[in-house]
Structures are given as structure tokens and as C-alpha cells.
């Protein structure tokens, strides 16, 4: 093809060249080429590979749900769901085996409650302080330090709870046992402060300035503005922060395994030792249970319970966020 004729008009795309003697001749332009066949295939192959990498995250979820579901199903073939939910003892590895998840759920709930009682108020007030009160310099110094709290390995937190916080608490409550849910809960509470505070602070800083200005113009103090204008406006984001804090609190493993004792025990009293769902999984994993035995399946049933608890709260949080979402 000497003349390029693929344009919409029929006139060939040409350029003028002057030849000696004033003769003008029209010569064809070099053809502009897009990517060649090989390159197009390469592009497509790359896109497919990248897509597979992104889709693999779904495979992970399916893997989690599949494994937990599969092993739990085997478990529930031998233990009825009713027993699982109503029996008040959890002793799957004893001769007199009982399979009631309630003691583990109670332990998990108690530790999480202690942790949240500390982390939600402190985290929220920290967020309000950093977003509304603190001078720029203070914020720049404090924030990295708070984020360091999330970088501390959980084993170290466990060590701290068992060998620092518990002896400290014993000065005030002499009857406190060496393993107890109170110190584990308090340490987990401190651990999740940064999760609560940084997400909440982001939400508060996203509240448009004109709302604050309107409030100040009415003569409100900073405290009134923070608590009655900024906080309600940021409630959707704050709720998300709370849900994340909750997920972290019930999923935390090492601190409770080290400091709260590992005996399943139906109690809501934080001054007592008790096992959580996660601590039970650790305890069983440290031993040597044969693959496929009922004891092996119990940890998957416990894990599934933990997943469902997280899921319920995440959905609840999602609903809350939808309800409180403010548009500006």
C-alpha cells in the first residue's frame, strides 16, 4: 500500500516535497503504526495477570469461609448446634467432654468490654483534643507516638500486662489473681486507642470549617462546638472507628493468652481468670491434636464463632454509618 487511504476522506494523506526544477510531487506520509500484534497480546496478558492478583483477594476470603465452614460442619455433625449454644461448660479435651461455647464467648465479651470502656472514651477525647484543641506543633509530635502504639508486637503487650499491669493493680486490689481479664482488657484498651483516635480524628477534621464558624458566631465555646456540632457531624466516621476498635478487641490473641489465663470459665467478672475464643485456639494449637479429630475441629468452630461476632458488628456499624451519614 503506497498511499495511505485509511482516513475518513478519500483524499490520500500526502505531503508536498519540492524537487529540483520547481516540480512539486506529492509523496505519501510514513504510515503511523499502533502497537504491533505481539505488543497487543503482551498488554492483554499483563492486564489479565494483574486482574488475577486483584481477584486473589476474593480467593482468600473464599478460603477462609470455606475452611472454617467445612471443618465446622464436620464438628456440628457430632455436636448439635443447640448444645453448642446452651451448654455452660467448654471442656472438649477432657474425658467428660462438654461443648458449650458460652464460657469462651463470655470471656471474649468481658475482655472486649473492659478494653472498650477504656479505649472508646479515651480515644474519642483524644480525637477531639487533637482535632479541635491542640496546637499544630503538639499534634505533629503526638500523632507519630500514638501510631507507635500499633507497632508494638502483641507479645510485648502480653508481657507488659502480666508482669507490669497485674502487679500494679494488685497494689490496689490485693485479692486480684495473677491471671485476670482486667489487666488484659486494660492493656488491649490502650493498644486500640490509636485505631479509635486516628480514624475519629480524620472524620472530625473532615467536618467543613463553616459549621464551626457558624457555631462560634453564635457565641459557642470550643467545648460546645466540639461536642454539639463537630462530633455529631462526624458521627458516621466515629462509628467506623468504634467498629474497628471492637474488631481488634475481640480478635486480640496474645495478650489474653499470656495474661488472662487459659481456663474456660463462665463469668463476666473481669477480676477472674478466664479463656477467650482466641486463647482457646492458641491453647489447643500449642498441644498436638491429630488432624481430623473432634478436638481439632473445635478450634474451627470457635474460629467461626469469632468471625460471626466480627461480622455482626461490622454489619451493625455499616447500618449505623448509613443512618448518621451527613452530606455537606
Amino acid at each position: 500500500m503506497s498511499l495511505v487511504t485509511h482516513r475518513a476522506s478519500n483524499r490520500p494523506v500526502t505531503r508536498e516535497t519540492s524537487l529540483p526544477g520547481g516540480v512539486h510531487r506529492l509523496s505519501p506520509l510514513p504510515r503511523l503504526r499502533g502497537p504491533g500484534l505481539l505488543q497487543r497480546w503482551q498488554e492483554r496478558a499483563i492486564q489479565a495477570t494483574l486482574f488475577l492478583a486483584a481477584a486473589s483477594s476474593i480467593a482468600i476470603t473464599l478460603g477462609i469461609v470455606g475452611i472454617l465452614g467445612f471443618e465446622s460442619l464436620a464438628f456440628f455433625k457430632q455436636v448439635s448446634l443447640f448444645t453448642f449454644l446452651t451448654d455452660t461448660q467448654w471442656t472438649p479435651l477432657f474425658d467428660d467432654a462438654h461443648y458449650g461455647i458460652m464460657p469462651l464467648v463470655a470471656g471474649t465479651a468481658t475482655v472486649a468490654a473492659v478494653a472498650l470502656c477504656l479505649a472508646l472514651p479515651v480515644g474519642t477525647i483524644t480525637a477531639i483534643y487533637l482535632s479541635e484543641y491542640a496546637p499544630h506543633r503538639v499534634r505533629e509530635v503526638v500523632k507519630p507516638f500514638l501510631e507507635l502504639l500499633t507497632a508494638v508486637p502483641t507479645v510485648v503487650y502480653g508481657y507488659f500486662a502480666l508482669l507490669f499491669v497485674t502487679p500494679l493493680l494488685r497494689h490496689f486490689i490485693p485479692s486480684l489473681p495473677g491471671f485476670n481479664m482486667l489487666s488484659a482488657g486494660l492493656v488491649i484498651g490502650v493498644m486500640i486507642i490509636p485505631y479509635v483516635s486516628s480514624l475519629s480524628e480524620d472524620a472530625m477534621r473532615a467536618v467543613p470549617m463553616h459549621l464551626r464558624e457558624a457555631s462560634y458566631a453564635m457565641g459557642a465555646t470550643r467545648f460546645q462546638t466540639s461536642t454539639r456540632v463537630v462530633f455529631p457531624a462526624a458521627l458516621s466516621g466515629v462509628a467506623a472507628a468504634y467498629v474497628l476498635g471492637f474488631s481488634r478487641a475481640i480478635g486480640e490473641t496474645m495478650v489474653v493468652a499470656i495474661a488472662a489465663g487459659m481456663q474456660p470459665h463462665l463469668t463476666f467478672n473481669p477480676m477472674e481468670p478466664a479463656a477467650t475464643i482466641t486463647a482457646y485456639i492458641v491453647q489447643v494449637s500449642l498441644g498436638d491434636l491429630p488432624h481430623g479429630s473432634l478436638g481439632y475441629q473445635t478450634i474451627f468452630a470457635a474460629g467461626l464463632t469469632l468471625m460471626l461476632m466480627t461480622l455482626v458488628f461490622n454489619i451493625g456499624g455499616h447500618v449505623l454509618r448509613k443512618r448518621f451519614r451527613e452530606k455537606y
Binding site: F51, I64, L146, V156, G251, S285, M307
Partner: protein, 301 residues
């Protein structure tokens, strides 16, 4: 007169609250300091050359963390090798290729949810899938892959955020001189987002390095008195992957083992191991902050 009193009262509340806020902020920081001082107080005495070059032992003063820190290093290597290509590829796809459709939304929601799954659940999944289904056994390979899955959401989110800061004009400029999409990504997007991605990877690895719960469920041992096989061999092909199948222990597991013992002397070892671990994570976080700072200074859009 009453209104003046009211105003004074409100101003006082405001002052009090600003003090309460400062105290609340200090709760976290004071605890962090107390934790570090407590750990250093208990642990520094045990930090000597022998502690780093000895295997664990029944005698607390002879026990060391050689197998633990080697294990941590090797497991982190596998984790990085698996998580970085996967995470970066997924992030690039979601930012540069993904069409706006149900599949993309599903992937995005899914990644956000994965970030909230308790780490021990990853361990249970790996126990069922890697250890028994794929028959990888309780090995370094299983541990590395498990932690890779755990930090994958962190790497993906960091990649996406880094890519998002690159202005569209860069892409248009590349297309205008005839680059294909992949050429544009390779020559522009990836180099410009490298700093942000690296920061995310380091933060992710610093989270993985302190993680012990999932490794306990997939059978990390606590008493390992040997090192994994060397990857270099004297005979052809000079490389061996035998070490991937080796049993292992890591620093947090070793510390957990020591803190769970009743003897006080082992607690000191646990503190020293915890101190080593803290130093590693703090160094990694420091490096991440430094890299972020350097790249921010160098690239200004």
C-alpha cells in the same frame, strides 16, 4: 448578671476539657513509655553476644535467640517475596485498569473486610489449607505465605494510595508520545509511586514480624536447636530450597514461650527477646517515615 456567670461557667468548662483532652492524649503515650522502660529494665541485662548466638536451652542464662532471629529473617523474606508482587499487582490493577463494575466493587469491599479479619483466623485458614490440603507441612513456606496473606491488604492499600497521588497529566503525557498502557505504568506510575509502596511494604512487614497468633496455629515450634538448611550447596545447581520445608521458630513465639514459664529468670529472657523485637519494629517504622519524608521532598507535583 446571670449571663456573665453563665459565660464564665462555660469558659471554665472549656478550660477543664482542654486539660482532660491533654490527659487523655497522654494515657497512650505514658503507657508506651512505661512499657518501653519496663522492658528495657528487665531485658537489657540479658542482651549480650551470647544471647544472639546461642540456641534456646533449659538453662535460662545459657538460652539465646539464634534460631528465633534467623527464623524471623527467613520467614520475613518469604513473606515479602509473596506479598509484594501480589499486592503491588492488585493495587495497580485496581487503580489503573479496573472498570467500574460489580466485580471491582466486590474486590474493593472484600479487601477492606480482609483488613478487619482477626489474625488468628488467617492462621486457622492456613492450617486447613496450606498445612493439610496443600501438604506444605508446618514449615517456613507455610509461615511466610500465611503472613503474606495477612499483610496483603496493607500492601494493596499503600500501593493504591501512592498511585492516586500521581496526577493524570503524567499519564496523558505518556500516552501522547505513544506509550502503551503497560509502558506508561512501568516507566512512570511504578517509579513515581515506589516511595509510597516501599513505605507500605515496610509497615506491613513490621506488622508481620511481631505477629505470633497465626503462627502458633500453624505449628511454629518453640524449641528449635538447629538452623534451616543452607540455600547454597556445593553441588549443581548450587541452590537448594530444602530450607523452605524446615521447621522454625520466630522471635515473638520464642518470647511467648519464655513469658509463659513460671521461672522468673525466663521472664528476663522474654524481656530481652521482646526488646530485640521492639528494636526491629521501631527501626522499620523509622525507616518507613524517613523514606516517606525523602520521597515527599523529592517529588512535588
Amino acid at each position: 448578671m446571670k449571663i456573665r456567670k453563665d459565660i464564665a461557667q462555660r469558659k471554665r468548662t472549656d478550660k477543664v476539657f482542654s486539660l482532660v483532652g491533654l490527659i487523655a492524649t497522654l494515657v497512650g503515650i505514658v503507657t508506651l513509655l512505661a512499657l518501653m522502660i519496663d522492658l528495657a529494665w528487665d531485658g537489657t541485662a540479658r542482651l549480650n553476644w551470647n544471647f544472639f548466638t546461642a540456641f534456646p536451652s533449659r538453662f535460662p542464662d545459657k538460652a539465646g535467640i539464634l534460631s528465633a532471629w534467623v527464623g524471623t529473617g527467613v520467614v520475613m523474606f518469604v513473606t515479602a517475596l509473596a506479598a509484594v508482587p501480589m499486592g503491588v499487582a492488585a493495587g495497580v490493577y485496581l487503580e489503573e485498569y479496573a472498570p467500574k463494575n460489580v466485580m471491582t466493587t466486590l474486590i474493593e469491599i472484600n479487601i477492606a473486610n480482609l483488613a478487619g479479619v482477626p489474625s488468628i483466623v488467617y492462621g486457622l485458614m492456613a492450617l486447613g489449607l496450606f498445612v493439610y490440603k496443600f501438604q506444605f507441612g508446618m514449615s517456613i513456606l507455610t509461615a511466610g505465605l500465611t503472613l503474606a496473606l495477612l499483610i496483603l491488604p496493607i500492601v494493596i492499600m499503600a500501593t493504591r494510595e501512592a498511585i492516586r497521588t500521581i496526577p493524570g497529566s503524567i499519564r496523558e503525557a505518556a500516552f501522547a508520545v505513544g506509550a502503551t498502557k503497560w509502558q506508561m505504568i512501568r516507566h512512570h506510575i511504578l517509579p513515581y509511586s515506589a516511595g509510597g509502596i516501599l513505605t507500605g511494604v515496610i509497615i506491613g512487614l513490621s506488622r508481620a514480624i511481631g505477629e505470633s497468633a497465626p503462627l502458633i496455629t500453624i505449628g511454629a515450634l518453640t524449641f528449635i536447636a538447629f538452623l534451616p538448611a543452607s540455600p547454597f550447596t556445593g553441588t549443581f545447581p548450587f541452590l537448594s530450597f530444602e530450607w523452605l520445608k524446615s521447621p522454625y521458630t520466630v522471635l515473638p513465639i520464642q518470647a511467648f514461650n519464655w513469658v509463659s514459664r513460671p521461672q522468673k529468670a525466663f521472664h528476663l529472657n522474654a524481656a530481652a527477646a521482646g526488646l530485640t523485637l521492639m528494636a526491629m519494629t521501631l527501626a522499620m517504622n523509622g525507616a518507613a517515615i524517613w523514606i516517606r519524608y525523602r520521597f515527599r521532598k523529592r517529588i512535588k507535583w
